[in-house]
């Protein structure tokens, strides 16, 4: 027993080093990474500021200079010219010039990614620092595409012979130091950074799968910043003296994707009824713990051109929902479940594991639907299950989170979600609308802000009237930051953690 005690003591002392290294910033988040491929895990490398893109996006979603210090578009909108910053060096010492940038873009085009959707005809270098992109038709989201992580600039030495990334050589203020997939990534300050160098010498990113463990990590002082907190932990962390919780709205919406060709869901009234059943206020307040995040339309605030400002707030109205359903022939049965011609109003709702809060919300929706006489069978699938359910037609309802700020301009995303006759993998399903795809096509070529806005409003109106997808809540990114961090900034587009601007409290 005595030896056991002394052993334990030894163990304790061994671990008694301070949890927080003054040289290292530790980040935690749920994202698992498996490669250094920009097309797959690029978001992580732009967030950690290893890789940078030609253009950047500010908090309002406006394009900003990145590795290209300026850019211009020809009159007809078919040629984009980008003027690269001089003196930018990659982590391996190579200089960034038009040839290198071209090579990186060509690799990006050869892989899956947003750039493939752009109607690019030709990429060429006009001189050492000038890059020209010629399009087959005007495509306004190109700027956003060039700000997307999949088009990040990497040095030629990054690529192996097969075009895959061996070891990433970016241009950012941090260079990749340790790569330990899928759980740990270490970066160190790049001293030859073209801009303001980073203050904190090293940053470590750790994947944490359990939301509750992530919250505990920051409480224990083990981790400095935790991204994507689960709602339950938010209140707990708010009460901690040495932790600050930052709540930032992000252009992401929790929405119910539904199969509009399903006999129960085909009539508009049925979809309206489902929307009326939802008690978004209660979910926002008690489940997500962010009052005011109720969604009355799909496109989240922050994307002003796409918002219907006059739309009233979404409220629960059970009697109206019942009346609408009764109008469709649904009557409550003995067990309280609605019935019509011997069929019970029972549907399955799938959601996926990547975002912990989805399941929590799904549970609440399940209980609320039950009150209206609709039974939902909720299950969690792999996120590809949503897409495959969409394609094989088995999907009935799916609770998904959609990021409208993926490439700063929601146009590309809307095209993916509604472009196919009104449908898309993550958007509408079994809904038929030709007006919306046509509008999207038109907007891609639209360069006049006013007309762009008018089109955007029309699209938002269509989605809100037809309800091919039911909006539930807007996302608020909850981030816990240890009080020793100064200069924390949050990018609502989650492109960049701005680590280089942060420092430790002296």
């Amino acid at each position: 027993m005595r030896s056991a005690c002394s052993f334990l003591l030894l163990f304790l002392l061994a671990g008694c080093s301070p949890n927080q290294d003054p040289e290292v910033l530790t980040l935690g988040g749920p994202f698992e990474f498996t490669s250094q491929e920009p097309s797959r895990d690029g978001y992580l490398y732009t967030r950690l500021q290893v890789a940078e893109t030609l253009l950047e996006v500010d908090e309002q979603g406006r394009l900003q200079p990145g590795l290209a210090e300026r850019w211009e578009t020809s009159e007809d909108g078919l040629v984009w010219r980008l003027y690269l910053r001089d003196g930018v060096r990659f982590h391996d010492g190579t200089a960034l010039d038009a040839q290198v940038a071209l090579a990186a873009l060509r690799v990006a085009r050869s892989k899956p990614g947003v750039i493939r959707a752009a109607p690019i005809e030709e990429l060429r270098s006009e001189d050492r620092l000038t890059l020209a992109v010629r399009l087959s038709r005007p495509y306004s989201p190109l700027g956003a595409v060039l700000a997307h992580y999949t088009t990040a600039m990497l040095a030629p030495a990054s690529y192996r012979a097969d075009g895959n990334v061996g070891w990433m050589q970016g241009t950012g203020p941090y260079r990749l130091e340790d790569f330990d997939p899928p759980h740990r990534l270490g970066v160190a300050r790049f001293e030859d950074y073209w801009g303001t160098p980073a203050r904190i010498p090293r940053v470590v990113y750790l994947t944490g799968h359990r939301a509750e463990s992530r919250a505990l990590q920051v409480m224990a002082g083990q981790t400095d910043i935790i991204y994507t907190l689960d709602p339950a932990s938010v209140d707990l962390l708010r009460r901690q003296p040495d932790v600050q919780v930052h709540s930032n709205p992000i252009p992401r919406t929790i929405q119910i994707k539904l199969n509009a060709s399903h006999p129960f869901l085909a009539p508009l009234q049925a979809r309206q009824a489902l929307s009326l059943v939802l008690d978004r206020t209660a979910i926002a307040r008690h489940v997500m713990r962010v009052p005011g995040s109720e969604a009355n339309q799909l496109i989240p605030p922050g994307l002003a051109a796409w918002r219907l400002e006059q739309l009233p707030a979404a409220r629960r109205d059970l009697p109206r929902a019942r009346a609408l359903l009764a109008g469709l022939g649904w009557e409550p049965g003995a067990d309280g479940v609605l019935q019509r011609d011997g069929q019970r109003f029972a549907l399955s709702m799938i959601t996926y594991a990547d975002r912990p809060e989805l399941f929590v919300v799904a549970t609440a929706i399940q209980a609320q639907m039950r009150e209206a006489g609709i039974t939902l069978d909720v299950s969690v699938v792999n996120s590809s299950g949503i897409v495959s359910g969409h394609h094989d037609g088995t999907l009935q309802l799916a609770l998904v989170a959609r990021n409208y700020g993926n490439i700063a301009d929601p146009l590309g995303l809307l095209d993916a979600d509604y472009g196919d006759g009104g449908n898309g993998d993550w958007g509408a399903m079994g809904w038929h609308n030709e007006e919306l795809p046509a509008l999207l096509r038109r907007l891609e070529a639209e360069r006049d802000p006013l007309r762009y806005r008018a089109g955007a409003q029309r699209i938002a109106g269509l989605l809100s009237e037809q309800l091919p997808v039911i909006p539930v809540l807007y996302y608020t990114q909850q981030t816990a930051v240890s009080s020793r961090i100064q200069g924390f900034v949050f990018d609502p587009y989650e492109r960049n953690y701005h680590l280089s601007r942060m420092s430790f409290q002296p």
Partner: protein, 312 residues
């Protein structure tokens, strides 16, 4: 000796075959089209369309009859080609080999910890069988055994990470991160093995040959060292084989709780994500670790017990 190895090898082969078959069934049972799922894993689900899935179908021969596919699946298994993850699209064999190292690290640390805990506790309880220490250790053992492993882990996290701030909560970034998961596992293992050690030692101390050794004139310490240890070790080592099953179950829980990048965590995560090739590879890796540990136990028993060697 060779028969021991051969027996375990056969067992490993059977295990791999059964997991492979189960995974094959699993793959076919999953909702949706197999080609589609594999394409989603390879190219990311944003980039899947009919053409991509048809390409996969042709490449992997998914349009062949089921039995041909099954045979091909088994043939791949024999070549240790376990397929690509449906989530990351990377070869799972590579990913799992990475995870195995972490699991072994955790397992070795936990095992060492458990031995250091269980051995003194078990022996001391045995030397004073029926005494207060014996009874206390019985109660402690019963208490620990009535908990799921993760509750013990959570309790340790609350105490050592949140209140004392001695150890990190979760993750993997240095030896410090090993302490809490290893100790949680070790506590559970020691809860059982300390009692096994105690019983085994008491059995030896009360045995006729131990008495006779004393009567021959040897002291208690001499008798225990010369006759007690080896005889008491046999059932304890044999029990380790059973204990390892529990330990690996514990590893799945503990790795998951502490986000430890090991196979157990990989397995739980893969089950959660419906990533069949990963499930298959992780389950096989755990099975192989388990069979390997059992082989070590067999060899240890063989070395401890001279009777096994002289028997024809």
């Amino acid at each position: 000796m060779m028969t021991l190895v051969a027996k375990r090898l056969l067992q490993a082969a059977l295990m791999i075959w059964s997991i492979g078959t189960l995974s094959y069934v699993l793959m076919r049972l999953l909702p949706g089209d197999m080609a589609f799922r594999i394409a989603a894993g390879r190219y990311g689900y944003d980039n899947v369309n009919l053409a991509a899935s048809e390409a996969v179908r042709a490449e992997l021969g998914l349009d062949r009859p089921a039995w041909q596919q099954y045979l091909a699946w088994l043939a791949d298994l024999v070549r240790f080609d376990l397929g690509d993850s449906l989530v990351s699209g990377l070869p799972v064999a590579h990913e799992v080999s990475h995870l195995v190292l972490h699991t072994l690290q955790l397992a070795v640390a936990a095992f060492a910890c458990a031995v250091l805990l269980a051995l003194p506790v078990g022996l001391f309880a045995a030397f004073r069988a029926g005494g207060w220490f014996d009874r206390c250790s019985l109660v402690a053992s019963a208490f620990l055994r009535a908990q799921p492993v993760f509750v013990i882990g959570l309790a340790l996290v609350l105490l050592f990470s949140l209140h004392l701030k001695l150890f990190p909560v979760a993750g993997f970034n240095g030896s410090k991160y090993l302490v809490l998961p290893a100790v949680s596992l070790a506590l559970v293992m020691a809860a059982v093995s300390s009692r096994v050690i105690r019983h085994s030692a008491v059995g030896v101390i009360r045995s006729a040959f131990f008495d006779f050794s004393r009567v021959k004139g040897l002291s208690f310490a001499q008798s225990f060292w010369r006759h007690g240890v080896r005889n008491a070790a046999l059932p304890v080592v044999a029990f380790l084989g059973i204990q390892f099953a529990g330990a690996i179950e514990g590893i799945v829980m503990i790795e998951s709780l502490f986000s430890w990048p090991g196979v157990g965590h990989g397995l739980a995560h893969a089950v959660f994500n419906r990533d069949v090739p990963m499930i298959q590879a992780a389950a096989m890796a755990l099975g192989l670790i388990f069979v390997g540990l059992n082989l070590l136990v067999d060899i240890a028993c063989y070395l401890i017990d001279p009777r096994e060697r002289t028997e024809p």
